[in-house]
């Protein structure tokens, strides 16, 4: 019987055949935490009286949510993590190193890996053909100690890609459209597996955006095959040797197949306070926006800044709309400086944050005021997400965000191009 991508990867990493519905014990190739989930992981590891890490060179601590720290409590959490890294000899990406999922993509995950992180957007690495999933602090503490975890092999939903994006439409619009169609629990406990004859029309950056938001439909993992585009990406990161081709069997069994024609998608926006509460950008024309935030693990890559800079070049943000940009990694920032995107964004009136999660989760660096609305390229718009339960968060692509920053209200980017 043919296997889905999820079944193939988990069969290799566990004893015996892994079929949808089975519970398996899987080896874990890469395990990580970030600075708001890591301290509890460290405490659970210590409470378990574990003395050493199963794979120190594949255990990673990231400092990205509070980067740099806005208060003494989080600074003390950082101290705890630094001490743990020192004592255990694991990898550490300290403040300023970028968003964990971007670093995992650039430097750490590879096709066929099982990746477990204490952050729900660990699913991002599914774009590389890695079975990557988020778990809590206790689960990851046990992975740190034992190098393995239990997993229920998920049923898979196939997303069959056809067609080509129209102008000013991109991966974010696709994934918002998909989540709007199947709902915020439309893929709970399942794998979303992307394929189809036009998969090559999705760049690696597109794939990271899409895999990143698989969890917003409840999915355990959002998987892409490892193909030529994956190979080119890994080569560009200086990791050509990490490539291996990976695809589902032709006779794999899917719970269902959803066809998506890229050419039929329009710029989409998720409205407060649920990610599946979507509308077309043009239907929200006139919605005033006090802040635009471009960045995060969803849309903080060079390609995203290129899109934003392309729209904002020679223009200014609306005087009543703050524009905040957070590159996802130092590599992204350096490249964006080299090709002039940062200059363009600054000239348009943007604030450039250090590489990290920035304003996404309401810790600092762009907390909203009562009654204010933000159009963000992040992945979540739950009530209170950006630090204020009295504020409103809309989600969109970088193109829609940039166009809206100029207009001061939600705007279909097609109108300004």
């Amino acid at each position: 019987m043919g296997k889905t991508l999820a079944e193939k990867i988990l069969t290799k990493k566990s004893a015996g055949e892994a079929c949808a519905g089975d519970i398996v014990i899987s080896r874990v190739d890469l395990a990580f935490v970030q600075d708001t989930t890591g301290p509890l992981t460290v405490r659970q590891f210590q409470a378990g009286k574990f003395k050493e890490l199963a794979n120190p060179e594949k255990t990673v601590l990231f400092f990205d949510h509070a980067a740099p720290s806005p208060n003494r409590q989080l600074s003390n959490d950082h101290k705890l993590l630094r001490q743990f890294a020192k004592d255990m000899g694991c990898l550490k990406y300290d403040v300023g190193s970028g968003v964990c999922h971007q670093i995992v993509a650039e430097a750490l995950a590879k096709p066929g890996d099982v990746v477990v992180g204490s952050d729900s957007h660990t699913v991002t690495a599914g774009a590389l053909g890695a079975f990557a999933t988020g778990m809590g602090s206790s689960d990851v503490a046990i992975v740190f100690a034992l190098g393995k975890t239990w997993l229920r092999v998920p049923e898979s939903i196939k997303i069959n890609i056809t067609g080509k994006f129209g102008a000013s439409v991109g991966a974010k619009d696709l994934v918002l459209y998909l989540i709007g169609s199947i709902g915020a629990d439309g893929a709970t406990y399942k794998a979303l597996e992307f394929g189809g004859e036009r998969l090559a029309n999705l760049t690696m950056s597109d794939r990271f955006t899409i895999a990143n938001m698989a969890v917003e439909a409840g999915a355990k993992v959002g998987l892409f095959p490892s193909d030529k585009i994956t190979q080119e990406y890994l080569k560009a990161q200086g990791r050509a040797k990490d490539f291996q081709p990976l695809s589902a069997d032709k006779d794999a069994i899917y719970e269902k197949t959803i066809d998506i024609d890229l050419g039929a998608i329009e710029p989409m926006v998720a409205k407060p306070h649920q990610v599946d509460n979507v509308a077309k950008a043009r239907e929200l024309k006139g919605t005033k926006i006090e802040q635009v935030f471009i960045g995060t693990c969803t849309n903080g890559r060079r390609e995203d800044l290129a899109t934003a800079a392309g729209i904002l070049k020679g223009k200014k943000r609306h005087p009543d709309t703050r524009l905040i940009v957070a590159p996802a990694s130092p590599k992204v920032l350096l490249e964006a400086i080299a090709v002039g995107y940062i200059k363009t964004l600054l000239e348009a009136g943007a604030i450039i944050l250090p590489p990290g999660c920035g304003a996404c989760l309401g810790l600092h660096q762009g907390v909203l005021g009562d009654g204010e609305s933000c159009l963000s390229t992040a992945n979540r718009n739950f009530k209170g997400r950006m630090g204020n339960p009295e504020a409103f968060i809309y989600l969109s692509s970088p193109a829609t965000a940039a166009a809206s920053a100029i207009a001061g209200e939600i705007t279909d980017p097609g109108e300004v191009l």
Partner: protein, 164 residues
């Protein structure tokens, strides 16, 4: 047998409703964090909930972040079990890992303030206030074992490894 009062919540209660990012600085001060449990869904919950009470939620409870602090502060508040029509994947696993039962059942007939009696062994919820009886689905074996040991850490300490 668990007995307590039901606190009713709607659909789509996220981890941001339970323990928002703006309180991330309190995650190493759990008693303080617990004072804000479910604050953005019901600001009065933390002051009203008593030991043994239940959260009775709608669909997709606990969606969003992997933060284990969400089920942790619900447990610290005294909640003895979460009843929900459905629950998000990571939250589900986190709750069981902390020894907090999550019972999937049709919560529509439960009203805020109803007194409930839960029999974990039999898989039944009795609404003493309305007289209705509900059943909930059985957990997968591995989760039952982890829950039976009081959570993932005690389970691993006892067995030294995962035992399927």
């Amino acid at each position: 047998m668990l007995k307590g009062k039901a606190f009713k919540f709607g659909d789509g209660i996220s981890t941001d409703h339970i323990t928002p990012g703006r309180l991330a600085h309190l995650r190493s001060n759990l008693p303080e964090l617990a004072k804000h449990v479910l604050e953005d869904a019901d600001p009065t919950f933390a002051s009203r909930v008593k030991k043994g009470d239940f959260v009775a939620a709608g669909g997709n409870f606990g969606l969003g972040s992997s933060r284990e602090h969400a089920p942790l502060v619900i447990k610290m508040a005294g909640v003895s079990a979460i009843l929900a029509k459905s629950v998000a994947r990571i939250f589900f696993r986190n709750a069981i890992n902390l020894g907090l039962p999550v019972l999937i059942c049709d919560t529509d007939g439960i009203n805020d303030g109803d007194t409930l009696e839960v029999d974990l062994g039999k898989g039944t919820v009795k609404d003493i206030t309305t007289g209705r009886q509900l059943t909930f689905g059985k957990l997968p074996e591995v989760m039952l074992k982890i829950l039976g040991e009081g959570g993932l850490l005690p389970y691993i300490q006892k067995y030294g490894d995962f035992k399927l």
